[in-house]
Amino acid sequence: MISLWHFLGVGAILFGLGLVGFLTRRNLITMFLSAEMMLQGVVINLLAFGSHHGSLGGQAFGLFIVTVAACEAGLALALFLMLYKRGRSLDSGDWQTVREVGVPPAVDTVPLPAPPPDDHPTLPVPGRLPEQAEVRFQEVTRA
């Protein structure tokens, strides 16, 4: 039998996972989606309690949360676009200039892994080119 407790548990786990995502991930969009997931956990909580008490108040509350989340999404989108145009990056760590004077910036020391090798198909060399043609080809490629 599914009880109130089960729904509350699911809500709590969703909330916690979203929290982990928000705290650790650095892509602004992923952070935002994690925050939305936290909101979903809260909405589940509200609906479960509403259902338990036989009240529609929980659902009304859930609707308001969805509304606010929509506002948040619109604003966040506009802000992300602007930030991306300024810094060409969606890294939240790029915007740490608001720190106190004299505090050193957090710099990543561990190098990123090398990009995966380009696995586009390559064509074999079809054969030797004549001398002149090769020169012209080189010129063309150089230009």
């Binding site: 650790t24 991930r25 935002f32 994690s34 939305e36 036989g54 989340a69 604003l75 969606l90």
Partner: protein, 362 residues
């Protein structure tokens, strides 16, 4: 199972610790990232959590009092819950944000299923439309606009992975433990037939009927205009309440409760039960004897009604969800609706202003 692991707190802590380790391994990092191990650990955490559920709240029941529909409900719940949590894990740990967005869409769909189980079809529809339909799509647009090739800081690095997962899972464990601590004792739930590990007491259909009738008379007594009418309904309500408490199947529950009174949670529960019981007895009747006590009697009936609502617990939501929700929103929450609308408008204007200013600035 070793006795040490039988403690719910230990189980929860273990589940959270395994979850932390798994998510830590799964989170994108330049160095320590082991997907297979992480997945295994997360599954292990889920398993420990399952043990906790099984130990505390019993095995999944396939039929309750011969009601087969609950089976479908249970299966759907576990399906949707697992989907939500699993895709949530994917969203948090996925390196590619586009895939993360798709995972988020699945999280939304799963939670929408849960909404349906909670009798909220309108909210389900609204959430699907808004999140899966609008937000995810626009975010995918942004992702396409800011497409990054190869490894990048934002996708392949995390900020404080260990500390962040510790905080998150610690928080979850804390909440689950809190829920567990506030739910009624297993000693009560285990032998009482249907499992109701909830703050409300286990009620049979007959109990519920008795309580509902008592409540109905309470409401009518409160609505009553004359003393006679009021008195009549109040006496009837009292009668049903008395019947509820004197029913034969209540007594063993009380005895069990008294037997475990050493547990403070049981004591609290018992206290509540007793207070309700005492209010069904002589005090109200003595008040009803004299019309001069009308105000006090009415107050007592009101208090009784409120107590009963809390005690009865799980109610039934109306079947016409959209119509009733609309009525509620446009009657009780009208101001809030207007505020929400204004907020949306302001947010729209703000979003446009922010996006435009950037263009002018360049």
């Amino acid at each position: 199972m070793p006795p040490a692991l039988a403690n719910p707190l230990t189980q929860l802590v273990l589940a959270a610790a395994l979850g932390v380790a798994g998510v830590y391994l799964l989170l994108p990092k330049p160095r320590v990232r082991w997907v297979a191990g992480g997945v295994a650990l997360v599954i292990a955490a889920a398993a420990v959590f399952g043990v906790f559920l099984f130990e505390r709240y019993g095995q999944p029941v396939l039929s309750v009092n011969g009601d087969k529909t609950n089976v479908v409900g249970s299966v759907l719940f576990w399906l949707f819950a697992a989907g939500a949590v699993g895709f949530g894990c994917v969203l948090v740990t996925q390196r590619n944000p586009a895939r993360g967005a798709i995972a988020f869409a699945f999280v939304i769909l799963s939670t929408c299923g849960l909404f349906l189980l909670l009798a909220a079809p309108f909210l389900m529809a609204a959430t699907v439309i808004i999140y899966a339909g609008a937000i995810i799509v626009t975010f995918l647009f942004v992702l396409m606009l800011s497409h990054v090739k190869g490894p990048s800081d934002e996708n392949d690095r995390t900020r404080e992975p260990l500390l962040g997962s510790l905080a998150g899972f610690g928080f979850v464990g804390l909440m689950l433990f809190t829920l567990h601590a506030s739910s009624p004792p297993m000693a009560l739930a285990k032998d009482a037939g249907p499992q109701y590990p909830l703050p409300a007491p286990p009620l049979t259909a007959d109990d519920r009927q008795l309580l509902d009738r008592a409540l109905g008379h309470c409401e009518e007594a409160i609505q009553a205009t004359t003393w006679e009418e009021f008195r009549n309904h109040a006496i009837q309500a009292n009668g049903f309440l008395h019947a509820f408490f004197t029913a034969a199947d209540r007594l063993p529950v009380e005895d069990r409760l008294k037997a475990t009174a050493a547990d403070p949670r049981v004591a609290a529960f018992l206290e509540k039960h007793e207070s309700l019981r005492s209010s069904s007895g002589m005090p109200l009747l003595s008040l009803l004897g004299n019309p001069t006590n009308e105000t006090e009697a009415r107050a007592a009936v009101k208090a009784l009604r409120d107590e009963l609502y809390v005690y009865r617990g799980n109610g039934r939501l109306p079947a016409r969800n959209v119509a009733n929700l609309g009525f509620l929103l446009y009657s009780e929450h009208l101001l809030a609706v207007e505020m929400a609308g204004t907020l949306l408008l302001v947010a729209t204007v703000g979003a446009v202003a922010i996006a435009r200013r950037k263009e002018v600035g360049q």
